[in-house]
């Protein structure tokens, strides 16, 4: 009994130590992620003189919405937001649909040259986007698409990453299920919709989140194409708050950052639910 308790305590100690280390690691991660975000948030709510103080103020004396008012009035914020939502929504839908369809074709359809097609897709992943910017710009300019949604969206829509990610996932699906469906004579689209996708929601949801975040934060390409608030998305538009030779007022910049972050946060929370649902659905054994 004594001995038993001894080993128990010993094991318990070790477990507790391990737990403590895990919690410590978690705390460090949370601190590095949360503290900057917290600073963004309180800076956006501080009165201007409080932003620059020494020592740093961890809690604002008073909370005022002035910075937000500035964001909404000094720049055409709502136009930028509308453009951002539109561009991101279209790009996400297109990229997810394209990714699913092409990955499905690559894995489940047998056609000559599909390996070559995959290699080609893989190769296009290796080309840095910056390289293609100029030729894309030339093309878009010739089509008369500068300062238009088409000019921003079309060149960004073809991304090989989705096809690559989903192909690898589809490959990992249990062959028996697919075989069974095939033997039942399931037509291709029905197979995708009824068999493949139900087993793939977590991956699709993860890819969707990645796409939303990437496209929402897209800077370089929209910056080159957009001339003004007609089509410019938030990251481009908010540079107007930040001026090289003028005087940058950081309160509104931070307020703009907060408002830009919110929609992404909402999208993430919504999709996270889907991811977990997919994970626990357990479509594998049938």
């Amino acid at each position: 009994m004594n001995n038993d308790a001894g080993t128990h305590r010993h094991g318990g100690d070790r477990r507790r130590l391990r737990g403590a280390i895990a919690y410590l690691a978690m705390l460090v991660v949370v601190a590095t992620v949360v503290i900057p975000l917290y600073f963004v948030l309180i800076t956006s709510l501080k009165p201007r003189p409080d932003i620059y103080t020494q020592p740093v103020m961890w809690f604002p004396d008073e909370i005022i919405p002035d910075s937000y008012t500035t964001v909404f009035t000094a720049v055409p914020f709502w136009e930028y937001l509308r453009n951002s939502v539109f561009i991101t929504a279209v790009l996400t839908v297109v990229q997810v649909v394209l990714g699913v369809l092409s990955a499905y074709a690559l894995v489940f359809l047998r056609f000559p040259g599909r390996h070559a097609a995959f290699l080609f897709i893989l190769a296009s992943l290796m080309v840095p986007k910056e390289i293609t910017v100029i030729s894309n710009f030339a093309l878009v300019a010739q089509l008369g698409w500068t300062n238009s949604f088409a000019g921003i969206i079309v060149p960004l829509a073809g991304v090989a990453f989705g096809a690559y990610l989903l192909r690898n996932h589809f490959m990992s699906l249990p062959g028996e299920v697919i075989e069974a469906a095939r033997m039942d004579g399931t037509p291709p689209m029905k197979m995708l919709w009824r068999v493949v996708l139900p087993m793939s929601w977590p991956t699709v949801a993860a890819f969707t989140i990645i796409t939303i975040v990437t496209e929402w934060n897209q800077y370089l390409w929209p910056f080159l194409i957009a001339s003004n608030e007609k089509v410019a998305p938030l990251p481009v538009g908010l540079t107007l708050l930040q001026q090289a030779e003028g005087l940058t007022n950081w309160g509104p910049v931070m307020a703009g950052t907060v408002v830009t972050m919110l929609p992404i946060l909402v999208a993430f929370l919504l999709l996270q639910k889907q991811m977990i649902k997919g994970l626990t659905a357990g479509a594998v054994k049938g």
Partner: protein, 429 residues
């Protein structure tokens, strides 16, 4: 790895510039002829937060010339971003008519024939070029031709916190950098938490501010096309800067204007273009002075307006008409008073509004006087070599905040600048 937006854009711009140099963007669009000459497209980064002001100038222009329309295109948040966007447009073939071109961006554009020489347009468009302040106009000369007209032109100013100065018993701004060293020691003793002088970092044109300092030591970045980073006097200036940073006399920071404006610094080196913002928002009493000497201890800077070369003559003539209007006597007065940039026309200085304003606001007069007494044109290594400002700025960051060895860094700068010169400039001269 830390990738800044500017670094990214620089890369892209480099690729774009390379594409322009070989004049084969790969996909054509080589003739940007056509286009509506009555529709003028003006790309600006709105220097000194001037977007509303620019729109007002445009509205006034259209009211006076109803047959024209003018489109204002956002060119990013600084001169470099605008240049990268313009480079992409040049390669792509869809170009604006007028662009803001800074002290460092105009020359590569002129060298690659991306912007047009203006002299003929001046005579055909009846532009009174003699009325522009001579030194500012002559900053845009390459092979005897002018490639721009001054617009948002500035010099660095020495802004100082009057109250702190008074408390420390100091009388006026330092006239030499040695005197600054003494003053800074005094300021630091009274207020150990307050940096005696804040200066923008290398991503925010430290290379521009330091240029004045290096001259006062008898050094320079270059003498015409001969690189001079490794001259004894230049090295001495570099060591002085590093030492002042070490002593805590100078603080290098990304956004010094706000620190100064809220009383966290004794003094500030910034462009005249910050005067407007500081007047509006600073929580402190401040005054302006020349950069410390001996003279000349201050470069000119800022940006001008340039006209795209690729467009046809009719569009060029329209563009010239707008450029002239945007910098005419009245608009110069309004623009310079709202932003703090220098009046670029002689007649603007004689305008009764301007005279009254300068009487009321002697801090703006400082820049105008300094232009005549304390400035000289910039070194080629900074403003004519492609990427010169970025390169030197980065080097200065390394010897100040990075604490690296001055000799080693300046030697690298010497070597790199020489290479860029031999590769990009020499064959074209």
């Amino acid at each position: 790895m830390h990738i800044t937006r500017r670094a990214l854009l620089t890369t892209v711009g480099g690729i774009a510039a390379a594409a322009t140099l070989t004049s084969c963007a790969g996909t054509g669009g080589s003739s940007a002829g056509g286009g509506d000459p009555k529709n003028i497209r003006f790309m600006s980064n709105h220097p000194g937060k001037s977007q509303d002001l620019e729109q007002k100038i445009i509205d006034a222009f259209v009211a006076e010339n109803p047959e024209y329309s003018v489109e204002l295109i956002d060119g990013g948040s600084d001169y470099e971003e605008l240049a990268q966007k313009f480079n992409a447009q040049l390669a792509g073939g869809d170009v604006p008519d007028i662009v803001v071109a800074s002290d460092v961006t105009w020359f590569p554009l002129a060298l690659n024939e991306a912007i047009t020489p203006m002299d003929e347009l001046w005579s055909s468009g009846k532009v009174d070029s003699d009325d522009y302040v001579d030194t500012l106009r002559e900053d845009y000369v390459f092979e005897g031709k002018h490639y721009g007209l001054p617009y948002s032109r500035s010099t660095p100013l020495f802004y100082f916190n009057s109250e702190l100065w008074e408390k420390a018993g100091l009388d006026g701004a330092p006239t030499t950098w040695d005197e600054f060293d003494e003053m800074a020691a005094k300021l630091l003793k009274d207020n150990p938490d307050v940096a005696p002088l804040v200066v923008p970092d290398g991503s925010n044109y430290l290379d521009w501010y330091f240029q004045g300092m290096i001259w006062t030591f008898g050094g320079s970045y270059s003498k015409e096309w001969d690189m001079a980073f490794t001259d004894d006097k230049s090295l001495e200036a570099g060591r002085f800067l590093a030492e002042q940073v070490n002593k805590g006399h100078i603080k290098i920071t990304a956004d010094p204007t706000n620190e100064f404006g809220t009383g966290l610094a004794g003094a500030l080196l910034e462009s005249t273009g910050s005067l407007g913002g500081l007047k509006e928002q600073a929580a402190i009493e401040f005054d302006t002075a020349y950069l410390p000497g001996p003279k000349p201890g201050c470069p000119t800077g800022g940006a001008g307006l340039a006209i795209t070369n690729k467009i046809d003559d009719e569009r060029k003539a329209s563009a010239m008409k707008f450029v002239e209007f945007a910098t005419n006597q009245d608009n110069t007065v309004t623009f310079s008073q709202a932003t703090g940039y220098m009046p670029v026309r002689k007649s603007a200085l004689e305008h009764p509004d301007e005279q009254a304003y300068l009487k009321d606001e002697p801090r703006a007069q400082t820049a105008i006087d300094q232009l005549a007494e304390n400035t000289q044109s910039q070194d080629y290594a900074r403003c004519f070599l492609p990427g010169g400002g970025d390169r030197i700025g980065e080097g200065l960051d390394r010897i100040t905040t990075g604490g690296e060895d001055v000799e080693k860094i300046f030697e690298e700068l010497q070597k790199q600048s020489q290479e860029v010169y031999e590769r990009d400039i020499e064959p074209k001269l």
